[in-house]
């Protein structure tokens, strides 16, 4: 019954050395000739496994795949009263409206600006923090700092925005302290000019700590012998960082960078919708919030669905393209797996 030698993933042994080409561990051809089982036998054997996956598949079908089909409404003059099936088809006129709409184009612009800004000012922070933390010698101190910086990742955006409001807002801590000492206060929360800085600060506060986890893991795989050899050859601290530590991080950095690029039409939805009222739509409207307001709030269902579909398709293309790019760079990418 049991197949002779199932190729087991290497539980022991060294973690894949970063930099090395990702050796896809194809199961080595079984030494014992594989007896082809009939479909019936396999079905009977694997029925319990299929039953186990059933609930998850059902949930996904209902809440992910049915809505995908529902995107048909982007081509319809959808109205809640007539429904999917009897709403008239109108071709691509909804898309024409979307692309002619200056508010949508503004939302696209904001989305890209926010993504670009965060790429420059958010993305490197976890890397720097991981390098810093990796150089801390005492394990106890390191674990302590790690558990503190991971924490905000688990707070909700409402909480984070509220904390920022209490610290940086017009009635917030800093403003009050300034005012009590005779300076004029300020309100960072409602200033459209500094909105980019504000939301980037929030992202850093919330997620930069969490971001280091993956870099620390990559750093953990560096063989200390490399450092020792370099040191005995006279390489100083910084040279070793440049020639040993950073190359170890390279695959992870490239992977995450590419993923981020692929995801560039999605910027924090909850974070932005929470603060849209305070700074105005001019700077804070992104594609996601725009779709929400057009559809759910103003009831222009087909128009919003069309805008959402544009975003979904462009995102899909970006992810696939980014993954392709990852392969070009010799990284394992995201989805190419056994």
């Amino acid at each position: 019954m049991s197949t002779a030698t199932r190729p087991t993933t290497p539980a022991t042994g060294s973690a894949p050395t970063p930099g090395a080409a990702p050796a896809r561990r194809r199961p080595a051809a079984p030494s014992v000739p594989h007896r082809k089982l009939s479909l019936r036998t396999r079905l009977r054997r694997d029925a319990p496994l299929l039953v186990m996956t059933l609930p998850a598949v059902l949930l996904l079908v209902v809440f992910a795949y049915v809505p995908m089909l529902g995107n048909i409404m982007a081509f319809q003059q959808y109205s809640p009263y007539t429904g999917f099936f009897s709403s008239p088809f109108v071709g691509i006129s909804n898309f024409a409206r979307v692309f002619a709409n200056p508010l949508f184009l503004n939302a696209v612009g904001n989305t890209l600006v926010i993504t670009a800004f965060q790429l420059v000012f958010f993305f490197p922070v976890p890397i720097l923090l991981a390098l810093l933390l990796n150089s801390v010698l005492s394990p106890r101190l390191r674990v302590f700092v790690q558990s503190v910086v991971y924490l905000p990742h688990f707070f909700s955006w409402v909480l984070v925005v509220t904390i920022f409001q209490q610290i940086f807002g017009g009635a917030g801590l800093i403003s009050q302290t300034l005012r009590n000492n005779g300076y004029s206060g300020f309100d960072l929360m409602t200033n459209p000019d500094t909105f980019l800085v504000l939301i980037t600060m929030q992202s850093v506060w919330k997620d930069a700590g969490w971001g280091i986890i993956i870099f620390l893991a990559a750093l953990g795989t560096v063989d200390p012998a490399l450092h020792e050899a370099a040191a005995s050859d006279g390489a100083g601290r910084w040279r070793r960082m440049w020639h040993i530590t950073l190359p170890a991080l390279r695959p992870v950095i490239i992977l995450l960078l590419i993923l981020r690029l692929g995801d560039s039409l999605t910027v924090g939805f909850e974070q932005l919708i929470l603060q849209r009222g305070a700074v105005g739509a001019q700077v804070s409207e992104v594609i996601d919030t725009y779709v929400y307001y057009q559809g759910v709030v103003y009831g222009d269902w087909s128009f919003a669905a069309a805008a959402g579909l544009v975003k979904g398709l462009v995102s899909l293309a970006l992810v696939l393209g980014a993954n392709k790019l990852a392969h070009v760079f010799g990284e394992s990418g995201v989805y190419k797996r056994s």
């Binding site: 319990p48 998850a56 992910a64 700092v145």
Partner: protein, 323 residues
Amino acid sequence: MSAPTPTLEVAPVTAKLAPARRLRRSKHRPTWEEDPSVVGLVGKGVVLVLLVLAIVFPLYTVLLTSFSTQAETLRTGGLVVVPGELTVEAYRQILTGGVVTRAAAVSIGITAVGTLLSTVVSVMAAYGLSRPSSLGHRPILFVFLITMFFGAGLIPTYLVVSGLGLINSYWALILPGAVSAFNILILRNFFMGIDAAITDAARVDGAGEWRILARIVLPMSGAVVAVVALFYGVSYFNAFFNAILYINDNDKWPLQLVLRSYVLQGVNLPGAGAQPDTGTSGAVAGLPIKMAVMVLAIIPILVVYPFVQRHFTKGVIFGAIKG
């Protein structure tokens, strides 16, 4: 195992030397590495302290404010940094007033039910997909993967949920996000790393797949399952957008919506006692109460966090890096 009676002259010398050397060389620093410069050490220390403070200080002052009197917040004009008059009045008010307590109960209930459902369903799916030769696991895996790359879009999802009659139902907060392909992949990855010899042995002994999952695989996967359950739990507890979308009935609001309306947007809390508006700046009125609501929203995370935190590196990295 001490050396037999050291001579009295030698002993004090080593005792003097040893601590002095240990101060300079950390026992964790390899011998070949150069000693750190004072500037470097101090700089590193300062950055680390600032880093920890940036996270701890806001939490500290929010907590302190929630325990302060209204008068204290009026005096400082906002958050309280130096402990003054302390009271639990704010907590008494929100815990007796209906809105916050109710919302907290809703949030915790949804988190409990949702986390249980999601974790069970995900573990089953992950195990079902983890046998390298099982029938049909490839297409099913593909079904999961697609959802990671193409979201259906907000509007059609909303219409499906409302078409199922879930508007204003707690299930609307649970079902649409109940399974995450990413978490299933983390679990599957871990399950596949379990030595097949163990499960095969159980199969030879006549154990079915269910029994193998429950008796062999699960007991070996505590860390990963805990981390995935935490991920689900946090997303249920923090979910606020789904609640905006699907819950119109104020009585059914989870905690995050209460937080947004009454704390962030400053709408007056109904029921949380007569607002002690003393005619001073309205933004400050009731600050301890607001901060108490925030603390209430933080506490569940702080309670669970320490138990799961030590598994992060083990659990997350395993699935995350390899996707």
